[in-house]
Assembly symmetry: C2
Homo-oligomer: 419 residues x 2
């Protein structure tokens, strides 16, 4: 607890908060001051979350994403010691790739170059076979699944959302189009301020099972009930605004269009053909609905496999898993003018397209991003994919980007020069 108290002033470092050396959840039973639990909310505190994000399944109900019965696809290896690759942070400090990982509380990092795994490290409570929660990285999987259904003609981006989910008629989504939830350009009253417990995102968390529900709570206790209650504010289609409920609506469209749960669809369309090494899982609400906006946990290597699938225009493990048009549409990006008003100072000139963040930098890099520093970074020009899990004390990528993004771009440059 003294560690947590100190964190309120200046977060303790990754080394100081290593869940293994601190002994979180060690012993039978673990000591009260080393116990991480759901009901008391401690799993969201720092440094408890450094254990929790690698152990979601022990905290909340989940549904499996089966990897199928086949062998795992081979990730060929060609170790390169890239830890010393130098960069300069956005605020001008000299940095190395290895120091970047420590400074941004990485739990694991896997770097692929030209399809080969050149660097893989684990920290904190993460192990190669253990799933780590991706949080908003989940959204990028949801977007790709939606894209697959679009190419099959089962989802029409121009159609009203209510064509798929008529129950949303009276909600904010009653006059929204599918592409507006894909690109998050809906106008919603909903707010997503992680540090404010009165923000709507906390209502979503109570509804989707990732926050305890107080005994006298009379708000929605399922994702569906939460979505139906969303109110409109402003106009749809005008500007990007990052709001997780869009992805949960998109996930609902996917379920209705495919007739499948999100977990079964991900298993059938991606996890099995990709030759994932381990099952993944989503946390679910009280009636078994996956959190399509934030609930996916995967191993680091399987996250890397998915990133590599994207880099290869949807092809991996000897087959076309995602239609290339879906990948290219994402890589091309959205409208930077609609993105600009959102004010992401660490992402100048970027856009948001079908649940992916597109840099529009010289390498055409695009990203999946989770709020504690989880992510996939695909750099087509450098033929590089970075998959990363993390448990940064600050919920917001403004805390990671100034250190991680220059390091990624420096690595891309070094690999391009070396190749």
């Amino acid at each position: 607890m003294s560690v947590a108290a100190a964190a309120n002033q200046h977060p303790a470092s990754a080394t100081e908060t290593d869940p293994e050396s601190l002994g979180w959840m060690k012993g039978f039973p673990p000591a009260p001051d080393r116990t991480v639990a759901f009901q008391d909310g401690s799993f969201r505190s720092f440094p408890e979350l450094r254990w929790a994000w690698s152990n979601i399944r022990q905290l909340v109900p989940t549904v499996n994403v089966w990897r199928g019965a086949g062998p795992a696809s081979v990730l060929s290896r060609e170790d390169q010691d890239i830890g010393a690759v130098a960069s300069v942070t956005m605020d001008g400090r000299p940095m190395t790739f290895a120091k970047m990982l420590e400074e941004t509380y990485a739990d694991g990092i896997a770097v692929l170059h030209q399809g080969k795994l050149i660097y893989e490290r684990y920290f904190g409570a993460l192990k190669p076979h253990k799933p780590h929660i991706g949080m908003s990285v989940t959204k990028s999987f949801t977007g790709v699944l939606a894209g697959i259904l679009v190419t099959e003609g089962r989802v029409d981006p121009q159609a009203p959302v209510t064509d798929y989910v008529p129950e949303l008629k009276a909600s904010a989504f009653g006059d929204a189009r599918v592409h507006e939830v894909m690109d998050m350009t809906t106008g919603l009253e909903y707010t997503e301020v992680y540090t404010d417990r009165n923000s709507h995102v906390w209502g979503l968390r109570r509804a989707n099972g990732m926050a305890p529900i107080p005994p006298d709570y009379d708000g929605p206790t399922t994702i569906f009930d939460f979505l139906v209650a969303q109110k409109k504010q402003g106009e749809h289609g005008k500007a990007f605004a990052y709001k997780t409920v869009n992805t949960d609506v998109l996930a609902w469209i996917i379920r209705r269009a495919s007739g499948m749960t999100l977990s079964d669809l991900l298993s059938e369309r991606i996890w099995t053909p990709m030759g994932a090494e381990e099952d993944a899982h989503y946390h679910v609400d009280r009636i078994g609905t996956e959190s399509g906006g934030g609930g996916l946990s995967t191993t680091l290597r399987d996250l890397a496999r998915f990133g590599e699938t994207m880099r290869n225009h949807g092809r991996f493990n000897g087959r076309q898993i995602v239609p290339s048009s879906v990948v290219e549409d994402i890589a091309r990006g959205g409208d930077p003018e609609k993105f600009k008003p959102a004010g992401y100072t660490t992402l100048p000139g970027a856009s948001y397209r079908n649940q992916w963040w597109v840099t529009h930098n010289a390498h055409g890099a695009y990203m999946a991003r989770g709020v504690h520093g989880q992510g996939i970074y695909v750099d087509p020009k450098a033929e590089m994919v970075i998959a990363r899990y993390a448990s940064h004390p600050v919920a917001g990528n403004a805390a990671n980007d100034p250190v991680t993004l220059p390091a990624y771009m420096a690595l891309a440059k070094a690999l391009t020069a070396g190749g």
Copy 2:
């Protein structure tokens, strides 16, 4: 709900309560009268439990039992249509093997003869790759893990329980020996009456995470706190009395003796070397403790692999997984005189040894048994193993035994004659 109401008079049949055809948890969201949830306790109602026992992970937090990175061991097949094998129930009705499965709400059955899978069927909500909860079948895994540690000299059956768990000093287990919890001959106030919500077993369920905790509840909310509060009644070592807390104490002894969680120990000692096909999982309490007395879910085939490991004196997948002495000690059985007072009319002459039920019949069969009809039946003489998952409406094997046991013995006889 009309189905459930009908069940109170005369339980609807397995076909009538098939969770797939009834549409339990189908649709997005599922209809209110087809929703199975934890918080409202509906997962324990019939026929809801027919869905729930194959989907525990969606209802409660769990911890994974990793199968390792290797290939699954091969279960060679030699299909035999044994469905028509005839038997006579204990109450004199003619029966067939196939009809027995229907009448006792089997969710899946796998029969091995001389190491070959000769019969495998799935019903209800179960699929080959999905784990089903074993409930008290879990105990037999805990017993075998304890047996392994005994042969390694890390657990002494003659030692006081408090040598391993000193915190139990003031509890009923304060003057108990390890072998008394292994064989369930402790004298405890604790009662295990599944149909009586005031029975202590319901307190254990609230503590271990398998029953909702009412808002004003002031009882123990972790397994450990529940065990520490147990009171003695009668004498230890005199008679067998089936009480799950013994197994939870044994699980605690195992954790302390091995320094490992039950899930990691099961993974390392059995699941990985056995070449399990899928990960298993335990449900956990609010602080991550596995229910060692009832929380294990496995696939049917992996349950069959474990049964075959036992039949082969601990050898499977090309290696000695369980020391043969552990298996032989179980197969030899306990003291039928200590078992008799418990009054199991369907198990005349039987005994209980290290968390297994030993028939002492002419074939020397022994069993792992779960309360809704889950089980492993090992028949050494017939070289037969039956693994079975079920969701019988009645919580108690007195509802299964009169139909299942004669069918198992008839099949054993038929296979012996045929070989």
